[in-house]
């Protein structure tokens, strides 16, 4: 099950890769978000062209006990279209920033998808039967002449080819001046929050014409702006608690019971800066790009440019664990600033049992850290290990000095190939890793 570690305990194998093979990446195909649903059966991806593609895991084949079901395309739909804001003469990108699944309550699946300005609630439903035997309509839909009807029959449902339909049920628009970076569904499953650079709004899933503003950090004078909101999430168990991270490396935990406008935090998580590591870019690399609660709700994980930190909600002054993702980049910060790579927003994720965390890096590398064994592993998402059940070979980056065999030197890393979005199956050791335009699925080796 999902308790295995990320070090030597588990061996990751290639399972599948989705997406175009050629190196010429069409901009619309760039994957911008990846998310498993609550059962793990469905995997949704959003891309820069505003499309959502949902993959469904096949039912496990009894004969093939060695591998878990494959993920195949279940539904594809255009979630957001490019829009034009006439008032500001600005184009609103259709890129899907985040997808969040709602827990399943009936036969249909629901998810929230958002671009920079608008959030949409989609219903994905299956249709595998259709009624046949109407009295007044032919099978192809043409109306029959009533005078030709001599007998009556009761229409019956007959099986048909599975059809998956996606329909927008709610559209939550016009509530954000700045670009939405996060959405998070509350544990009450009735409300959710959406966060942009300066504000966080609370919505009810049924009500689209109104939202409550719960955090507003916009200063009266924009000239005094020094900090923006970078991510926000509801606590998995407490429906009154949420956190938001900032570009200054702080995380604020707020309690909505305290006041309507949660500008005053209940807890402030901030680690004092290490003076030996101070540089011109200290602030930029301290900006948090992602924050995720553990499934238990006791911990939260933050990702800044060079590290992953795990915080205990009960301790505000420093994280309980810190993992360096690519420390070898610390001496290259100026170059990374020059080519804007320093602003890349990496995401991170927990495994189902909260024992392993994963995040992406450059050169199509991604890293896993086992919290129990303290071991970490670097793997690469590439088409070279194409055969299913091929065990992935751990990779190593050589920071300086002599490069051993099989190591890669920092200077030969490809900074165009970055893994920003990763997701871990909530129950099993299956991970989805998105490179620029391909989605890789890896599983643990089942013996």
């Amino acid at each position: 099950m999902a308790g295995a570690g990320g070090g030597n305990d588990i061996q990751w194998c290639f399972s599948q890769v989705k997406g175009a093979v050629d190196d010429d990446v069409a901009e619309a195909d760039i994957i911008s978000t990846v998310e498993f649903n609550h059962s793990g059966e469905l995997l949704a991806t959003g891309d820069k062209g505003g499309r959502v593609v949902i993959f469904q895991q096949e039912q496990e084949n009894k004969t093939q006990a060695h591998s878990r079901g494959e993920y195949n395309v279940y539904s594809t739909f255009q979630s957001h279209e490019p829009e034009f804001d006439y008032l500001k003469s600005l184009e609103i990108e259709e890129k899907i920033n985040k997808i969040r699944w709602l827990p399943q309550k009936n036969a249909a699946q629901f998810l929230l998808s958002t671009n920079d300005k608008t959030i949409k609630l989609w219903k994905i439903s299956e249709r595998d039967k259709r009624p046949e035997g109407y009295n007044l309509k032919e099978e192809d839909g043409r109306y029959r002449d009533p005078t030709t009807v001599t007998t009556l029959r009761v229409p019956v449902f007959r099986p048909m080819d599975l059809m998956v339909e996606a329909s927008p049920r709610r559209i939550f628009a016009n509530a954000h001046t700045y670009h939405i970076n996060s959405i998070s569904i509350n544990s009450d499953y009735e409300t959710y929050l959406s966060a942009d650079d300066l504000r966080i709004n609370l919505w009810h899933l049924e009500i689209t014409d109104r939202s409550f503003n719960i955090v507003d950090i916009k200063p009266a004078n924009m000239e005094e702006l020094t900090e923006v909101i970078t991510a926000a999430e509801f606590h998995p168990n407490s429906c009154n608690t949420f956190v938001y991270s900032s570009s200054k490396g702080t995380i604020r935990l707020c309690d909505m019971r305290a006041s309507a406008l949660c500008d005053r935090h209940s807890k402030l998580f901030e680690e004092p800066e290490d003076p030996s590591n101070r540089s011109f870019f200290s602030e930029i690399i301290s900006s948090i790009s992602d924050v995720k609660f553990s499934h238990s709700g006791r911990y939260m994980m933050t990702r800044d440019y060079l590290s992953v930190k795990i915080w205990d909600l009960n301790m505000e002054n420093r994280p309980v664990e810190t993992y360096q993702v690519h420390e070898y980049l610390r001496s290259k910060l100026c170059s990374l600033y020059e080519n804007d790579c320093i602003f890349d927003k990496f995401e991170c994720c927990w495994n189902g049992s909260d024992s392993v965390v994963m995040t992406g890096s450059y050169n199509n590398f991604f890293r896993m850290f086992d919290r129990n064994t303290k071991r970490d592993i670097t793997l690469e998402a590439s088409r070279e290990n194409n055969k299913p059940r091929t065990v992935l070979k751990p990779r190593k980056v050589c920071a300086s000095g002599k490069r051993k065999k099989d190591e890669i030197s920092v200077d030969s890393l490809d900074f165009n190939k970055k893994i920003l979005h990763t997701a871990w199956h909530p129950k099993e050791n299956i991970i989805a890793v998105a490179t620029t335009n391909n989605l890789y699925i890896f599983q643990d080796k089942m013996n």
């Binding site: 008032l87 500001k88 000239e223 970078t230 570009s247 870019f281 170059s335 600033y337 020059e338 804007d340």
Partner: protein
């Protein structure tokens, strides 16, 4: 004189820096920023037009690469871009010879260039702009603290007048260093005597200028629908006031600009690390350079906070259309200046 021969190429300017031995890295950067086709060396005013047009056209380009503008009008080839994107080639990271102030200057220049580029975008990224602005503020604060500890070294009598511009190395923008000097607060928009404003103007780029530049950027981010002029960013001067080898550059007199249009002025200062510059005849090099083209992209906010209440800053910005949008006026102003200079030179030399 060994100029940067490859200024026209699309290579990363940092890698270019390494190739030329004589001139310092920073110099290269500055030169690259200033350079354009060769005729620019002499005939800069004519360039301004084409430059601003090229600048306009480059807005799309900014979308392609998040790269800040290198040389104006020179479109980086995609292959070069990718080549450089793939690797890390900053001189900052690889060179151990750069002193701390020099590194700081490099970073500051990069920040300001980026901010300027973002301003040109239709919709700048608020997150990035804030981070970069904070970095600039941090560097600025550091410089301020440093200079408040250093003795003030003012080049007062060096005839900081427009008349002597061609041959004089003015104190340039070490304004913030000259914290003891009250003129720090003043600005080149003073419409007093002909000489005073220039002198004041030379010292005018202060922390306030920088702050107000950053502030106005942030303000503009808020009013994305405004077609505000790109407020000017001025690279801060370096912090070694000992050598007056800084090159003060073109300044505009406020009288003309108060005609209700724009001002194109900027003080642009090259790092005056003396060790780099001493062996070169700087006067010779920069005598002819009119970096007003550079200035047009990095022009100072027309009005200083000390003069106007902050509330009207935004308003004021709006009354000054962009340099790009009215290049002819800029040219006129520059021409006026040059013709004045010519006239004065004639008097001095001809008689």
């Amino acid at each position: 004189m060994q100029y940067v021969g490859s200024y026209c190429s699309c290579d990363s300017w940092f890698s270019q820096l390494r190739k030329v031995k004589k001139i310092s890295h920073v110099f290269h950067f500055i030169l690259k920023m200033c350079l354009f086709p060769p005729f620019m060396w002499c005939c800069n005013i004519c360039c301004m037009d084409s430059c601003s047009v090229a600048w306009e056209k480059r807005k799309d380009y900014a979308k392609h690469s998040c790269w800040f503008m290198l040389g104006r009008g020179l479109k980086r080839k995609l292959s070069d871009y990718e080549e450089n994107m793939a690797g890390l080639s900053s001189a900052f990271d690889s060179s151990r010879n750069l002193t701390y102030p020099l590194k700081r200057q490099l970073v500051l220049n990069m920040c300001l260039t980026k901010l300027q580029t973002y301003r040109m975008l239709v919709e700048p990224d608020l997150h990035r702009s804030v981070l970069i602005a904070n970095t600039v503020r941090q560097i600025q604060e550091e410089m301020r603290q440093e200079t408040s500890q250093q003795p003030v070294n003012v080049c007062n009598g060096i005839g900081l007048h427009s008349q002597n511009y061609p041959g004089v190395d003015s104190a340039g923008i070490s304004a913030q260093l000259l914290s003891g000097v009250n003129q720090q607060e003043s600005n080149c928009c003073d419409s007093r005597s002909a000489e005073e404003p220039i002198e004041n103007g030379l010292l005018m780029v202060s922390d306030d200028d920088m702050s107000s530049a950053i502030s106005s950027i942030l303000k503009d981010l808020d009013f994305m629908e405004d077609i505000s002029p790109p407020t000017c960013l001025v690279p801060a001067g370096d912090d070694q006031p000992k050598s007056p080898e800084n090159v003060g550059l073109k300044l505009e007199d406020d009288r003309q600009e108060l005609k209700g249009a724009e001002c194109v002025f900027g003080s642009f200062e090259i790092s005056n690390s003396t060790s780099y510059l001493k062996d070169l005849a700087i006067d010779d090099i920069f005598e002819d350079i009119d970096t007003s083209m550079y200035d047009s992209d990095f022009c100072c906010p027309p009005l200083m906070p000390s003069r106007l209440p902050p509330a009207t800053t935004e308003e004021t910005l709006k009354t000054f259309p962009t340099c790009n949008s009215s290049p002819t006026n800029n040219i006129q102003i520059c021409r006026t200046d040059l013709s004045e200079l010519d006239h004065i030179m004639e008097i001095l030399v001809g008689s």
